[in-house]
């Protein structure tokens, strides 16, 4: 436990130091990749430990972001901490309800339920444009955290931007909590259900309950990421609920080697920097390069980034179905 705390503190110190030297643009990108890795960490629990592939995390991300946007626009909440808590609460509640529906299904049916849910959210966001702003999206003003610190801007020491500071702080706390979750009985029950559901049932584990908890936790993380995204980006649009965004999250999880939360942390940084600079240098053809990389990774290195390292050190061929 102490070791985990040290690990998180070291990561926090590195991120903090980086904030003093990096330009605002790099800080923005890094913040965004931390948000992506929050969602992907939820997927690590769901896919890596639970074996359930959710193509709907984008919906929870969007629910988090839109809770902030709509609460700001219609109810005039001006405190960032209240918005954050409410946004996360709403998302967690909805992910719990969807978990109730989805946890009875497995494999492709589960993926399909999550796709269906995220598409429902997407179409509602697009079609109820008089409320949600439709495809134009919503603008998020820079509200203040605890009444002093605006969620965007540069009121801190040196080049550190406020949004970066807030995001790395929350990210580190979540990292610490997730380490505990991964070493908790829940996580072991999840692994047992994934490997042998019948055996797990005979040991008194309820697969449905375990899956609901895992799904809710993943939704909770996506909700935090979504609310912070609203603060970070100042503008949100329904495209974040489209199934392709969820596909990106799943890809990052695979790239990070599905069971390693530090793997997905690196993978999301790599992915977002790659994507951003590809857009800068190739304009229209970034998808081609990303797709090509995914395909090569799947065909040649199926265990993801941490798998490549693993392979180099141990030299074992793993992760084949038969």
């Amino acid at each position: 436990m102490v070791k985990t705390a040290y690990k998180c503190l070291i990561i926090y110190a590195c991120l903090l130091l980086f904030g003093f030297i990096a330009t605002r643009h790099i800080q923005h990108l890094l913040s965004l990749s931390l948000l992506y890795s929050l969602v992907a960490i939820g997927l690590v629990i769901l896919i890596g430990y639970g074996g359930l592939v959710s193509f709907g995390q984008g919906a929870f991300y969007a629910i988090g972001a839109y809770s902030v946007g709509l609460l700001l626009k219609y109810y005039g909440f001006q405190n960032a901490e209240i918005l954050l808590v409410l946004g996360v609460l709403i998302t967690t509640l909805i992910s719990f309800l969807i978990g109730l529906l989805a946890a009875r299904t497995r494999k492709l049916a589960f993926a399909m339920i999550t796709v269906a849910f995220s598409m429902i959210i997407y179409t509602l966001l697009v079609k109820f444009y008089h409320i949600t702003g439709g495809t134009d999206g919503l603008r998020i003003p820079a509200v203040k955290l605890f009444g002093i610190l605006p969620v965007r801007g540069r009121d801190l020491f040196m080049s550190m931007s406020n949004e970066y500071f807030i995001i790395i702080t929350i990210f580190t706390i979540i990292l610490y909590i997730t380490e505990h979750v991964i070493n908790s009985p829940l996580s072991y029950a999840l692994r047992a259900v994934k490997d042998a559901e019948l055996k797990a049932v005979s040991l008194g584990i309820s697969p449905t309950r375990v899956y609901i908890l895992a799904f809710t936790y993943a939704g909770f993380l996506a909700g935090i990421a979504g609310t912070l995204y609203a603060f970070l980006n100042a503008h949100i649009d329904p495209l974040i609920a489209f199934w392709t965004t969820s596909g990106e999250f799943v890809f990052i999880t695979i790239l990070g080697g599905i069971t390693s939360i530090y793997g997905v942390f690196l993978a999301s940084i790599l992915y977002l920097f790659l994507k951003t600079y590809l857009i800068v240098y190739t304009a229209y053809y970034w998808q081609f390069v990303i797709g090509f990389v995914i395909l090569l990774l799947i065909l040649l290195a199926p265990k993801g980034l941490s798998g490549i390292i693993f392979k180099v050190y141990i030299g074992r061929k793993v992760f084949r179905k038969s």
């Binding site: 896919i47 592939v53 193509f55 529906l101 009875r104 299904t105 494999k107 492709l108 049916a109 993926a111 399909m112 339920i113 796709v115 269906a116 849910f117 598409m119 429902i120 179409t123 509602l124 079609k127 109820f128 489209f242 199934w243 392709t244 596909g247 799943v250 890809f251 695979i254 229209y284 053809y285 970034w286 998808q287 081609f288 990303i290 797709g291 090509f292 995914i294 395909l295 799947i298 065909l299 199926p302 992760f319 084949r320 179905k321 038969s322």
Partner: protein, 297 residues
């Protein structure tokens, strides 16, 4: 009188929308049934069919051929695109991932979707394309005072003919029966001497051709822009789920149900136009995860 007109229009809209859904999802379901892969790039095949038909129609017209030949151009574009994609994508990429776990298959086809979308942008550019000549040439139909584009009726008839041909092909020809038996049990078909590899290629090509033909048929009715197909693919997921995974007949009936639900929702509560399809999908996954029609067989 007005009620009858309204009913006719609901009926027509349902049939037209269902034929588009059916062309995509029957193909998707066939690939899923035979190859056991959920092909996320299936929607892009539709887009490729649509874009290629733009090129064909444009070049037919620029050669000075009369406008009625553009219908041949549409058909040619659909078939050529489908056969080309079928015989390249399956042997080069899909064949390598049959043994992999589900999530890798999904991700590989997702990657394929991204690649093909940018190939489209590379060939046809990022701007949007329209070919209205085949659409305008047929003019309008007068239904009780409301003018209705005749092209939609044409689309519907041709679409159903294509689906009928596919049905006959799968049920009455030898290769069709082999494809169905491979979908039913791969091992036993292999033991009986079926060249499963070739059957996979054929099944994928037929599925792809259905999608590209669908794309060619809808090309004159919409403005094509990059990424327009990613909505169709999730719609066909919904249809496939409701009809039952791998069940071709189920996919056809499900597309009728979905189209009817959508047409009625458009009239009653237009905001839920697309959401209704996914709500039905969610309900079916909850109540009958194996699809609506699995019990009856």
């Amino acid at each position: 009188m007005l009620e009858i007109t309204l009913l006719i229009i609901i009926f027509l809209n349902t049939l037209i929308y269902s034929v588009i859904l059916a062309l995509i999802s029957v193909g998707l379901n066939m690939v899923l049934g035979v190859l056991k892969i959920l092909n996320l790039s299936h929607g892009v095949l539709l887009a490729i069919g649509a874009y290629l038909s733009v090129t064909f129609v444009r070049s037919f017209l620029s050669f000075g051929l009369p406008i009625y030949t553009t219908y041949i151009a549409l058909g040619l574009a659909g078939i050529i695109a489908g056969i080309f994609m079928g015989f390249t994508v399956e042997p080069i990429i899909l064949r390598r991932i049959y043994e992999r776990v589900e999530i890798q298959q999904l991700l590989a086809t997702f990657a394929l979707m991204l690649i093909l979308e940018d190939v489209i942008k590379f060939i046809w550019g990022p701007q949007s394309w329209m070919i209205t000549e085949p659409y305008l040439y047929l003019g309008n139909l007068n239904i009780g005072g409301i003018s209705y584009p005749l092209y939609y009726v044409f689309l519907m008839v041709v679409g159903y003919v294509i689906l009928l041909i596919t049905y006959i092909f799968l049920n009455a020809t030898k290769i069709g029966r082999i494809i169905r038996s491979t979908a039913f049990d791969r091992e036993i078909s292999l033991a009986l001497g079926v060249d499963v590899k070739r059957v996979y290629t054929y099944a994928f090509t037929i599925g792809a051709t259905l999608a590209t033909l669908g794309g060619a048929l809808i090309a004159p009715t919409i403005s094509l822009h990059p990424g327009f197909s990613s909505e169709y693919i999730v719609l066909s997921f919904a249809v496939v789920v409701v009809g039952g995974l791998g069940d071709i007949k189920g996919a056809f009936i499900a597309s009728l149900i979905m189209a009817l639900a959508r047409t009625i929702t458009v009239m009653v509560f237009p905001e839920l136009e697309l959401a209704i399809i996914f709500i039905i999908m969610l309900l079916v996954l909850q109540l009958r995860p194996e699809g609506l029609f699995k019990g009856g067989r």
